[in-house]
């Protein structure tokens, strides 16, 4: 292949791992927030290259994984309403609700379709004016501007047969929750590269000041992550706590201003429940009142749908970095990607699924 890749070159990876080992004088616990980064770490076994002093724990950064059970149940109820075309991303459709999932709802007759973009759902709504088209809008700040733009376009076009379940979550409040916990172990964060492409890394100044914790925004390739770990370990060893940007190929201090503008126009910050973790104050987004006509939860009246998490699943502890996936007694036996008990096993970006895929025999 022509692009022999310095971002995946094992020699470079080993050299950075060696630099990390030379830098380390004591043990440190680091967390990557983003599920895509968890996937890279596990796939390439990067944690095994690190000196024993550096422990990686895996954060709550998989939007599919933190979507609360009751939102999935609400989605299934809406999808099962006659006349509805229900659309979302493929991995969201596999997430188990209390009794079933959206793919099974489809097998039972619901019109459930995979979308690659919220704009796919707008297209279907234009083509089917007699049907109600509902999009399940999940995701972090990376995805939220796209969903906001879809709602904004629907309003401008008067496309009233389109609506959205808005289940958006925000990264900084989850980091704040983890840092505020008396049992917190995390001493440094690898920041989420694509979230920061949208929001800018300036968003993290406050956390650094408040908790005196280093945050290094990282990319998604093996060398990106090893570089970010080296930068974090250097800060920790030198007693610094700053926001640094390893992923400057994509991330700037201010982020993407047009994307942030549409976010503010359509959504407002709200309290959100996170699967496995519970309610976190001001940790998500909901539609502003001006866009209430596009709020699927209001249109279909799903407020009465609530759900309890399965007791056996320890995903809350996994998502906060307090336990590793294989600490769970159900891991790999009663809980597998085919039959997941909890959401981190469902999505390929979930920590449990990544461990299952790459560490089954460990």
């Amino acid at each position: 292949m022509k692009f022999v890749d310095e971002y995946r070159d094992p020699k470079i990876a080993l050299a950075i791992a060696e630099r990390i080992a030379q830098k380390v004088t004591r043990s440190w616990v680091l967390m990557e927030v983003c599920g895509g980064q968890t996937h890279t770490l596990m796939r390439y076994g990067l944690d095994e290259l690190l000196p024993p002093e550096v422990e990686l724990v895996h954060g709550p950064g998989c939007p599919v994984c933190v979507t609360p059970l009751e939102m999935v149940d609400r989605a299934i109820r809406i999808a099962s309403t006659p006349g509805v075309i229900f659309m979302s991303y493929g991995d969201m459709l596999r997430v188990p609700g209390s009794h079933t999932d959206l793919f099974q709802a489809r097998a039972s007759g619901a019109d459930v379709r995979i979308a690659y973009s919220p704009l796919d759902a707008l297209k279907i709504a234009r083509m089917n004016p007699e049907r109600k088209v509902v999009f399940f809008g999940v995701g972090f700040e990376t995805t939220a501007p796209a969903n906001a733009m879809a709602v904004w376009q629907a309003k401008r076009e008067g496309l009233l047969n389109f609506s959205m379940i808005v289940s958006h979550v925000l990264v900084p409040p989850a980091m704040r929750l983890i840092l505020s916990s008396p049992s917190n172990r995390v001493q440094g964060f690898i920041g989420p590269g694509h979230v920061c492409t949208v929001m800018g890394f300036g968003q993290y100044d406050e956390l650094v000041r408040e908790f005196h914790i280093p945050i290094v925004v990282g990319g998604f390739e093996p060398i990106d992550l090893l570089d970010a770990i080296f930068m974090l370990v250097s800060q920790l060893e030198e007693g610094r706590a700053e926001v640094e940007n390893q992923y400057s190929r994509s991330v700037s201090y201010a982020g993407n201003l047009p994307a942030q503008a549409i976010l503010r126009e359509v959504f407002e910050v709200s309290n959100r429940k996170w699967r496995g973790i519970g309610a976190i104050a001001e940790s998500g987004l909901r539609l502003r009142d001006e866009y209430a006509a596009f709020d699927a939860e209001r249109i279909f009246g799903t407020d009465d749908v609530t759900a309890e998490e399965p007791r056996e699943c320890i995903s809350a502890l996994v998502l906060q970095g307090l336990r590793k996936p294989h600490d769970c007694p159900a891991f790999g036996s009663r809980c597998t990607p085919v039959n997941p008990l909890g959401a981190p096993m469902v999505s390929t970006e979930g920590a449990c699924a990544a461990y299952y895929q790459y560490r089954r025999h460990a």
């Binding site: 292949m1 022509k2 692009f3 890749d5 971002y7 995946r8 983003c34 599920g35 895509g36 996937h39 890279t40 796939r43 950064g61 998989c62 939007p63 599919v64 991303y89 493929g90 991995d91 969201m92 690659y116 973009s117 919220p118 704009l119 796919d120 999940v138 995701g139 972090f140 990376t142 995805t143 501007p145 796209a146 733009m149 904004w152 376009q153 401008r156 694509h194 492409t197 949208v198 998604f220 390739e221 190929r249 994509s250 993407n256 047009p258 994307a259 549409i262 999505s347 390929t348 970006e349």
Partner: protein
């Protein structure tokens, strides 16, 4: 769903900033992508695309690298982009 996939803008349509779209080539698979968040993008540019929207412009080398990485981890089918076999020249 959290991936961002690089592609090259072949042509641009529309003047309304919110609806401006690019016809984008992802190594042979071509799709229409919304350019509302990259108003500066012009034909020939490489952009990082997430759920149908270009999030940022990137340089060609970065685009090639990221694309090959996504092929390597087998992530493109999930985004509705089934890649053609890799060639020596890259995207």
């Amino acid at each position: 769903m959290c991936l961002a996939v690089p592609g090259r803008i072949l042509s641009i349509e529309g003047s309304d900033p919110a609806f401006r779209t690019g016809y984008v080539d992802f190594c042979g698979v071509r799709k229409t992508v919304n350019l509302a968040f990259t108003p500066e993008a012009i034909p020939g540019d490489f952009v990082l695309v997430h759920v149908g929207f270009a999030l940022t412009r990137i340089d060609e080398e970065e685009a090639a690298r990221t694309y090959h990485y996504l092929v390597e981890i087998g992530a493109l089918a999930e985004e509705g982009l089934v890649p053609e076999p890799l060639t020596e020249s890259g995207p």
